[in-house]
């Protein structure tokens, strides 16, 4: 029953995305072309990757505001490593990026777990610290396109079955974490911790440890995205992905992930990210005054969240009614 409601909500969001695409294509017919939709998906891939990590964190009643800073720091480090050792294979760079991101996620996780500091405070702090470290290691300088090796820049663009590797990375992450969240002990523990931490403790789940692993996963994904981002835009500087953490949280909220924890799916995060991605990619081509664009993006987010809130609200009423009947 519950699963059906969740599924229905995702169908609703998918429907909204399709309607949105249809509306856009009335103003700009080229938008609906498969090649363009593939391009939009590719452009949204970094957001999808981060939204997956964020979703798991939010599920455990936490929030990770440091994802964009983690991405930027990892991106800068791998770019600088590439600058110093241009011969290093890309596979090693990817491993390094994931390892770095994981380490930063673990710092967040440890602070939340062992010191029991509220996650919003921890990640607000580490967000600034990570950005600060970029200043320290880079001296505020950019790493530019001509300084990066060709192989470093080629990986996210390399095409496989018509889609760039950036898109494939996002698809792989969606599949992997769908399995993790629905078929593993960790996945179920994450839902239990967010749904009712006290009950979770009584069933033998370590709430802090689960939150720690959620932050670690979020960090790992942010690290991976850091490399992909820097190589895709072929530039690394302190401010890359500035403010992107808010997009990530917005994608999760649109995707029906409850900010109070315990509710949400990987599919929801994917659709939430795609919804934002479609809007971001459509606004430049449909000839809307740039002065209106911010307001339109904001309105779309509020409408999506309002729809979600209504869905939650109805569910609450049904439970109450059946409770009354039982009494």
């Amino acid at each position: 029953m519950l699963q059906r409601i969740i599924r229905a909500r995702e169908t609703l969001l998918l429907g909204a995305i399709l309607v949105l695409i249809a509306l856009i294509s009335t103003r700009f017919p080229g938008f609906i072309a498969p090649s363009n939709l593939a391009r939009v998906f590719n452009d949204t891939s970094p957001l999808i990757l981060l939204a997956i990590g964020q979703m798991i964190v939010i599920l455990t009643r936490c929030i990770d505001l440091s994802v964009a800073a983690n991405l930027a720091l990892t991106g800068m480090v791998v770019a600088m490593v590439n600058l110093s050792f241009p011969g290093l294979p890309v596979a090693l760079i990817v491993v390094l990026a994931i390892a770095l991101g994981t380490a930063m996620g673990m710092v967040n996780g440890l602070l939340v777990w062992k010191l029991a500091i509220p996650p919003i405070v921890v990640t607000l702090g580490t967000m600034t610290i990570f950005r600060g470290i970029i200043f320290l290691i880079s001296d505020g300088k950019w790493v530019n396109s001509h300084e990066m090796s060709a192989a470093f820049k080629a990986f996210p663009r390399a095409e496989f079955l018509g889609l760039p590797m950036l898109s494939w990375t996002a698809i792989a992450a969606v599949l992997l974490f769908t399995v993790v969240m629905t078929r593993t002990t960790f996945g179920r523990a994450a839902y239990a911790v967010g749904g009712n931490p006290h009950a979770a403790t009584y069933t033998g789940i370590d709430v802090g440890r689960t939150q720690f692993w959620a932050f670690t996963i979020s960090g790992a994904l942010a690290g991976l995205t850091g490399y992909l981002w820097v190589s895709r835009y072929a530039v690394a500087y302190v401010d890359i992905a500035g403010g992107f953490e808010l997009d990530v949280v917005a994608a999760c909220v649109i995707g029906g992930i409850s900010i109070a924890g315990g509710i949400g799916t990987i599919g929801g995060a994917l659709l939430g990210a795609l919804f934002l991605g479609v809007i971001k990619n459509a606004l430049p081509v449909i000839n809307i005054s740039p002065f209106w664009q911010l307001a339109i993006s904001g309105a779309a987010i509020i409408i999506a969240v309002a729809v979600n809130a209504r869905a939650n609200c109805e569910k609450g009423r049904i439970i109450l009614k059946s409770a009354e009947h039982a009494a």
Partner: protein, 333 residues
């Protein structure tokens, strides 16, 4: 016991000595604060280098290079307040907002601090003079000239700016529109805004190429936008069809010039700009010059500037960079 007393005495003596030392230094050195829009931007790092050069030339001048970590007026106000508290001799600021900094800068001037703005100006009541890197009219003309020179038969060009509220970019675009009559056949199809974010600028550039299939050039008068647009053109396999030009830094644009996505671009020399700002700040703070309309201020190796009615002055013409000189400049800034 004796030893402990001796240690205390020694500590006290060295403390006193160090205190005296700093006081003496503070009296000797003129402290000029170079406040930038945000730390970590290549352009401003280069300007700081120029200011240091001026300091070395003048002697007894300490340059404090500072700014917020993101390009907000709020961040700059915090930085300015701490500089006022430190009691620096002069502040040379590149403003994130024309009006928001005025009250803070007024406070600085009331305390006897020389305040000038450079690069991105503040309203007249918030500073003693403003140094423009070049004149807005010259820049406006330059960015369209760069595009038009590659399009002898005319064509469609689009503008990719920073944010809708960026003072600099808006003025340059306005000046550019004024001289469009001199470039027959060149049509400006639209203006889009990349907010000085790499990803948004990239997306806007992609959008431009989609909604205007016959586009011949993208003019981006902002260093983040021009790099992102060049990358978008390269990724769309449109090198040779769409020329990216505008204002950028040689180190950041070297890749785009090499790939051919950009044939040429322009920028003034930020080193000269920081140098001139420091020179002017020193001249005004040491009272060897007065900021008033018509005043001439000597700026060392850059010659002399003349203040106009609004107490503003232009430093020099923007300089064009292309395949012939990019290698020489990319390692400088």
């Amino acid at each position: 016991m004796i030893r402990r007393n001796f240690t205390k005495l020694l500590a006290g003596a060295s403390l006193a000595a160090s205190l005296m030392g700093t006081t003496a230094m503070a009296q000797d050195d003129m402290r000029i604060a170079l406040v930038v829009k945000a730390l970590g931007i290549g352009f401003f790092e280069a300007a700081a280098k120029g200011a240091e050069e001026a300091a070395a030339e003048l002697g007894n001048v300490e340059i404090i290079y500072t700014g917020p970590t993101d390009t907000t007026a709020e961040g700059q106000i915090e930085v300015l307040n701490s500089l006022i508290a430190q009691g620096v001799d002069a502040i040379a600021v590149s403003a994130n907002d024309t009006d928001a900094l005025v009250p803070t800068l007024k406070k600085a001037m009331q305390r006897g601090i020389t305040v000038i703005s450079w690069d991105s100006g503040v309203a007249a009541e918030g500073r003693q003079m403003h140094l423009n890197p070049s004149s807005n009219a010259l820049i406006g003309n330059m960015i369209i000239k760069l595009a038009a020179d590659e399009l002898p038969d005319g064509g469609e060009v689009a503008l990719l700016s920073a944010t809708t509220t960026s003072t600099n970019q808006n003025i340059w675009i306005e000046e550019m529109m004024k001289v469009m009559d001199n470039y027959p056949g060149i049509e400006v199809v639209t203006t889009v805004y990349g907010d000085d974010l790499a990803d948004k600028s990239y997306r806007e550039a992609q959008g431009l190429m989609q909604s205007h299939p016959d586009l011949d050039a993208i003019i981006a008068p902002t260093s983040v936008g021009i790099v992102a647009a060049a990358q978008a053109v390269a990724d769309a396999d449109k090198i040779g069809q769409v020329n990216v030009t505008g204002l950028g830094l040689p180190s950041e644009m070297a890749g785009a010039i090499e790939s051919g996505a950009s044939k040429s671009f322009a920028i003034w020399n930020p080193i000269d700009l920081g140098y001139s700002a420091a020179m002017i700040a020193h001249a005004l703070a040491s009272e060897s010059a007065v900021a008033e309309p018509g005043a001439e201020i000597s700026i060392g190796r850059m010659g002399t500037i003349t203040l106009d009615d609004a107490n503003e002055a232009a430093m020099a013409d923007p300089f064009i960079y292309d395949a012939s000189n990019i290698d020489e400049f990319k390692s400088i800034f």
